[in-house]
């Protein structure tokens, strides 16, 4: 049985070590190659038909959230954005990207659930999604004052993850 032990014991230890590592690890975390790169600027219209440029920094860093009315997970993170918009609107500008959606559905969604965004980019063809390499909705990009993406959250944000990410802006400026 000794030969068995030489193979079995290390294999078992390795397996359990890997699995316990896996447990502490978020499988939905996907590093974006865009981090550290400038946000690709896109011109288009917002939900009210005004001409806008997505990714253009005015006076504050940007929190750009990709959402859609058909996306169930967006609903769960929406409250965090509503609270976040109240708390941090002086420090950052919240911008929505209404991704692959019908204009009316998007507008109805904002009017019933509340609108945390200063404006929302209308991206019904998913062009912005392509430029940003969006895997799935929701995704949130954090763009600093220099227009560089410093962080990205895949999947719904929480109050805590939003606060942490916004705190990164002030750290970066020091």
């Amino acid at each position: 049985m000794k030969q068995w032990a030489y193979v079995l014991v290390p294999a078992l230890l390795l397996l359990l070590a890997l699995l316990s590592f896996g447990l502490t690890n978020d499988p939905r975390y996907i590093p974006s190659p865009l981090i550290g790169k400038p946000f690709p600027q896109l011109s288009g219209i917002d939900l009210n038909g005004n001409k806008v440029i997505l990714g253009k920094v005015k006076d504050r860093p940007l929190v750009i959230n990709v959402w859609a009315s058909w996306c169930a997970a967006c609903r769960t993170e929406h409250r965090s954005f509503l609270r976040g918009a109240q708390k941090y609107s002086r420090q950052v500008e919240f911008v929505g990207v209404n991704y692959k959606d019908e204009l009316l559905n998007g507008k109805r969604w904002l009017s019933t659930l509340g609108d945390p965004y200063e404006w929302s980019f209308f991206d019904n063809k998913g062009r912005a999604g392509l430029e940003l390499g969006v895997y799935g909705v929701p995704e949130t990009f954090f763009v600093n004052q220099q227009g560089v993406i410093i962080h990205k959250i895949t999947g719904p944000v929480t109050d805590a993850s939003l606060a942490d990410a916004i705190a990164m802006f002030s750290k970066g400026s020091k």
Binding site: M1, L12, P27, I30
Partner: protein
């Protein structure tokens, strides 16, 4: 919702706690009996097994009642059902989420254990309490998880008016049966596991029980097969990407125990016939069940990203990991400590014999399983050691698994013709001359057909033909041999009796035949698929693989709990109509697709309707040759296993002297 229904749920909750307590007794009774010297105490495990099985059945019935009576004060019901949901899916919603799936696991385990207890009272009464104690430990682990971390009886008060609905992807007959089949497979392997542990602890000679677990392993294996096939079938027509298997971690999680289980049912036969591989069999039994547990862990903890994106709860993941660690450490520890008592009684006579080819079978299947395990965990390893995030995809699996699978087909073609102990290679080759001739012709035809471009297809054609013809000639030769000794029988009777008098062998051959049929399907659909994605206006035509389809516009309607948009594609040459569908389930605002498929034995014409762009629709059409062979092969496998399982009953009636004496005494 009435007060009866309300109180029933509390009763269910109580039943869970009671079942937990009784499995605690069941698990420790034999130890207590030994410590105290009160031998009768061990029987508590047996009674406990019956009681736990009964309690879990009652709890399951209560849960189903809560679903059907739309009792949304139960959190799990509110999350997974809706008043608009058809009643069929309300029942099936029991295993539509995390809590209920685990409950189903425990429930099935309770029923299996109950059956084991019933079977064991006459056949192996001395070891039965220990066997059931092992089952009790496993049950305890699962009931603890259910009771403390994922309780389906938890309440949501005040009750919502309506539920969140069952995940629309699961609202499909294929998906309703898929999880219970998989669980019947996974959990089924717990019984051989209990035998192995009992044998190690009580020094039970494995020759006395290996025949008993063969049937359990076979039953678990066939359920696992059905579960995997149903999963593929569902993915094929529901997910709308034209395929049936994606090497997703969760698919791999069910495939690994299947591979080792296949090795197991073969190596058991070697032990029965040749008194070898005793240690190896115990190792396989433990590993197969360990992989079933690993599968549950991978699916239920969210460690790997997968299409089966279940809610991730670190507490539950941690619990399952600890539970799995305890089970693996104890069982492999016992194996290393006591394993030497279970040694082979005989050894090889020759390298060219039935048993040596069984060894090859075991090597191939174990290697295949190791490759899948490695690739499934590889992303975790790279992430642990480097900042990279990678996934291992189909190219790796195709490169590694296709050659192994082809070797397995080759092995299947001649191994059953090789006799035990020592064989004459010359004789086997002579037996197979027809098969080789046919295989060369078929391979040459394939080479001509693909003009030597598809080597995999040419080799696969060669091997599958070799397998089919060698099985057929072997059978024909067996019938002819019988005709020689029973000249009075007519041919049909001889053919029947050859099959019926050796059910175990021919059951296995039918399973091999099913595998060959699946191999045909995999080759055809994997290598000769054509597809095309086009934008179509009503009236437009698309040509694919010789099929011309005309787009005749769309149709919208409401059914049950969803809205459907149907595209209508008419075949210009053959007249059939494809109706690919997109459904929207308003409660979860989730879109799903239903492919429109026209099948015959030789090809599926498969269409998916996508988005509307201006006035045209995105239409994706595929021609998948021979896909139906895969499902047909799965069906043949089930038939083969059932045929093989009918053997023992027959044997007991005819060969066992004591049994027939007892029967005649009763009569």
């Amino acid at each position: 919702m009435n007060s009866v229904s309300q109180n029933l749920v509390e009763l269910g909750h109580f039943i869970m706690a009671l079942a937990f307590a009784i499995s605690l007794l069941q698990a420790f009774a034999p130890m207590l009996a030994r410590k105290t010297g009160v031998v009768r105490l061990a029987q508590v495990s047996v009674q406990g097994a019956f009681i736990v099985g009964g309690l879990l059945t009652l709890g399951g019935a209560i849960m189903i009642h809560a679903f059907v009576s739309e009792n949304f004060s139960v959190l799990y019901v509110a999350q997974n059902s809706n008043s608009q949901l058809p009643i069929f899916y309300q029942v099936a919603a029991l295993w539509g989420g995390h809590e209920g799936s685990l409950y189903l696991w425990a429930w099935i385990m309770g029923l299996y254990t109950m059956y084991l207890a019933w079977q064991g009272r006459s056949r192996f009464p001395q070891r039965l309490p220990v066997l059931l104690a092992v089952q009790g430990f496993l049950m305890l682990g699962f009931l603890g998880l259910i009771l403390f971390l994922s309780n389906p009886f938890d309440r949501l008060l005040p009750a919502p008016v309506d539920g969140r609905d069952l995940n629309p992807l699961l609202q499909d007959p294929g998906m309703v049966i898929h999880p219970p089949m998989l669980y019947l497979g996974y959990v089924g392997f717990s019984v051989p596991f209990a035998f192995a542990i009992t044998a190690l602890v009580t020094r039970w000679d494995s020759e006395l029980w290996v025949g008993l677990i063969r049937r359990w392993a076979l039953v678990a294996w066939v359920f696992l097969t059905i579960g995997i096939m149903l999963g593929g079938w569902w993915a094929y027509y529901e997910l709308g990407w034209g395929g049936y298997w994606a090497w997703d971690p969760v698919e791999n999680a069910s495939f690994m125990p299947w591979l080792l289980g296949t090795a197991l049912i073969h190596s058991i036969t070697v032990q029965e016939h040749r008194r070898m591989l005793h240690t190896w069999n115990i190792f396989l039994v433990i590993s197969t069940f360990a992989l079933s547990l690993l599968g549950t862990f991978l699916v239920r903890s969210g460690v790997l990203s997968s299409v089966h994106a279940f809610a991730v709860d670190p507490g539950r993941g941690l619990y399952i990991l600890i539970f799995m660690t305890v089970v693996l450490v104890i069982s492999f520890g016992l194996f290393l400590y006591y394993g030497r008592q279970h040694q082979a009684r005989e050894s090889f006579v020759s390298g060219f014999s039935r048993e040596s080819f069984y060894i090859f079978n075991n090597v191939f299947f174990t290697v295949a399983c190791a490759c899948v395990l490695l690739a499934t965990l590889y992303p975790l390893a790279t992430e642990a050691l480097t900042p990279m995030k990678i996934t291992v995809g189909a190219p790796y699996f195709n490169a590694v698994m296709v050659p192994i699978m082809l070797l397995i087909v080759l092995l299947m073609a001649f191994a059953p013709l090789v006799p035990w102990r020592k064989a004459n290679p010359q004789k086997v080759i002579t037996k197979m001359k027809f098969a080789f001739a046919a295989a060369f012709i078929a391979g040459a035809y394939m080479a001509w057909y693909t003009s030597f471009s598809q080597w995999t297809a040419i080799i696969a054609t060669f091997l599958v033909t070799l397998l089919l013809v060698s099985m057929l000639t072997d059978y024909v030769q067996a019938v002819l041999r019988r005709r020689k000794s029973f000249a009075s029988e007519n041919v049909v009777v001889s053919a029947q009796r050859t099959l019926l008098r050796n059910r175990r062998f021919y059951g296995g051959m039918i399973v091999h035949f099913g595998i060959a049929v699946i191999a045909i399907g995999l080759t055809g659909s994997g290598l000769f698929r054509s597809e095309s994605a086009v934008l179509m206006k009503p009236g437009d035509q698309v040509e694919i693989g010789g099929h011309v389809l005309r787009f005749d516009g769309t149709d919208r309607f409401k059914k049950d709990n969803y809205f459907a948009l149907q595209g209508i594609l008419t075949s210009v040459n053959e007249g059939y109509v494809l109706r690919p569908e997109r459904r929207k389930y308003p409660v979860q605002e989730m879109p799903t697709t239903e492919a429109g498929i026209h099948s015959n034995l030789f090809r599926d014409v498969y269409a998916v309707i996508g988005e509307k762009v201006k006035d045209s629709w995105g239409i994706h059409v595929y021609v998948n040759p021979l896909v139906q062979f895969i499902w047909l092969g799965g069906f043949i496998i089930v038939v083969g296993v059932m045929f093989s399982l009918t053997q023992r009953i027959r044997l007991r009636q005819s060969t066992s002297v004591s049994d027939s004496a007892a029967a005649s005494a009763k009569a």
